[in-house]
Symmetry: C2
């Protein structure tokens, strides 16, 4: 039995507790300051309001003020905050992590750092004093894992990555259950590129899904899939290229973290809905402030976080514009509010 402290009681942080609890680990779920109502509901009656589910017995719930005590007794930290909360998470853990601490990231995203792209675990590491930062063992998780399905114990396959794989197999083994299949890879870079980019590109798939909903669409063809599939393929092609530039492995992108997670994201969810609204002619501002008010659109957040850096990397020749026509189009749409007319002839070049 091991002791885990999960920081962030959102859907994924909480869902991840289910296999841990099933395995009999000691699990502390610590809410952020945004999770107060969730923690109260969990303490009260084990019910998670956004997962709409009763969580198994045995997990210990804490508000953020109680982080110190479980943090001090934990073997493993798990970061389940959203992608904008990584700096905040580092601050919270500053007094708790020790040389050689083990930290798993459920949080997904890429950041701009020093004019280049950086994976979030490394951004986190850079927030600690150098010698302490260097000693930390960082792990990341990718693959198609809708939180509500994991929490309900549907078969879910993920891949866990770490550059230093000292205890990677051990951690994967601690988490694995009959419904939660945890595979391992050394390719943490490829994995983090995939988990961030799949959100970004699924906005494009959503744009194309709207083809069947447009006014000029034939009335007897409500479900149109060819356009979305074309964008799916171009997304895969560009993800393989991008991860490859940063030394990610091709098999990561064609496996669970890339193809699998892009597939699941395109089956629904906010990113593709966002894309569909844009394709139907709604202005970005209207979608953000009215139709999807208050909703976090991860693919759009990725565009905001790294879009200008991507353009600059293309401008400087680090990335090849010819390999990234869909990315360029999506950045034009999301950053400059250009029309959401898919440039079909520029794709698949």
């Amino acid at each position: 039995m091991a002791t885990f402290t999960i920081l962030g009681a959102g859907m994924m942080g909480t869902a991840f507790c289910v296999p841990l609890a099933d395995r009999g680990h000691r699990v502390h779920l610590v809410g952020t300051h945004l999770d107060r109502a969730i923690i109260e509901s969990l303490q009260d009656r084990n019910f998670h309001p956004t997962l709409d589910l009763e969580i198994p017995e045995g997990i210990i719930f804490h508000p953020i003020e109680e982080l110190q005590q479980p943090g001090q007794e934990s073997d493993w930290f798990v970061i389940g905050v959203n992608s904008l909360g990584v700096d905040w998470a580092a601050q919270q853990l500053l007094s708790l992590v020790k040389p050689g601490s083990h930290i798993l990231f459920l949080t997904k995203g890429l950041a701009a750092q020093n004019g280049d792209l950086q994976i979030l675990p490394e951004v986190f590491r850079s927030r600690f004093p150098p010698s302490l930062g260097k000693s930390l063992h960082l792990y990341a998780l990718g693959g198609p894992s809708i939180a509500g399905e994991l929490a309900r114990r549907h078969p879910t396959s993920v891949v866990m990555a770490s550059r230093d794989n000292g205890r990677l197999e051990e951690l994967a083994g601690l988490v694995q259950t009959p419904f939660y299949h945890v595979h391992t890879t050394a390719d943490i870079i490829g994995l983090e590129f995939c988990v961030a980019l799949k959100n970004f590109y699924s906005v494009g798939v959503g744009l194309a899904q709207a083809e069947g909903e447009r006014p000029f669409a034939a009335s007897n063809s409500p479900n149109v899939h060819n356009p979305a599939a074309s964008i799916f393929a171009q997304s895969m092609t560009e993800m393989v290229y991008l991860a490859g530039v940063y030394s990610g492995f091709q098999e990561t992108t064609t496996g669970l973290a890339g193809a699998g997670d892009l597939y699941v994201t395109c089956q629904g969810g906010r990113n593709s809905r966002f894309g569909r609204f844009l394709a139907m002619g709604h202005a970005l501002k209207e979608v953000r402030e009215e139709r999807m008010k208050g909703e976090t659109i991860e693919g759009y957040e990725v565009a905001l976080a790294i879009g200008e850096t991507l353009r600059s990397l293309i401008h400087r020749g680090r990335l090849d514009a010819k390999q990234l026509p869909l990315m360029a189009f999506l950045l034009d749409v999301m950053l400059d509010e250009k029309p959401a007319e898919i440039p079909w002839s520029r794709l698949h070049g």
Copy 2:
């Protein structure tokens, strides 16, 4: 303007005539002996019953008995019969093709030949006298292209392949329209592997889609996507491996012909429905003879056509069993009627 003879008036053969007619080509659509009712309806009122659509003016419709005249005046032949009809198509064209004739395959599949796998255009070639066969220019088409959507002019992106690319660019250029985007590759092998295997593997995705419909599934989670996405990723991984063994290019599998077509096939259709029935516990015989009576399930046809050859190739060491756990499972289910219980722990190894 060029003259085309399309052999086979099924959904894809007919849909392919739409961009040709839009481009002003002279188009002869010749039905097989199975297409008599379709040809009569088309001659009568331009209506295709299974596409449920009125076809543009200008296409000339023929029963099979009239093949000779259009065949003699055509620059390009297009084969649109089903995958079991390739030998028949070769017989029909025996007196019509000349040295150096150009033949495009819409027909998809892999065949077993001399104990190994062979792509259908090469099976077709082998049915002609050697010197004539060798002189034929063969082209194939892949990518996400649901016939009804193409026929309704929804944006559709495909890739056309030929090993000898003498007139590949010319043919792609003749077919291209503002809604039909035709890209080219020399990788005809990778393309044919993808278009056949995507049907086979989408049976597996269908099996996994049934997870949410099983009796033990939580009642408040009707749509379950993690299991299908996991199988999608494993399918991509095995397709990259398989095409690679036969010298297919990785970018074909991660592009339109592989990822794109697998995606579109998993959005619905008979292969995944077949898989879902099996996963819900119906016997293969019952699904074939009752629930899906009379329907062609292409993924199952692939298993029948090449399943034993695949097993033999694994047995002989030409294919690595460790790379193909999902294929082995699907063959057990489809050829030996083994239980359709997905072997999760053997995947993503």
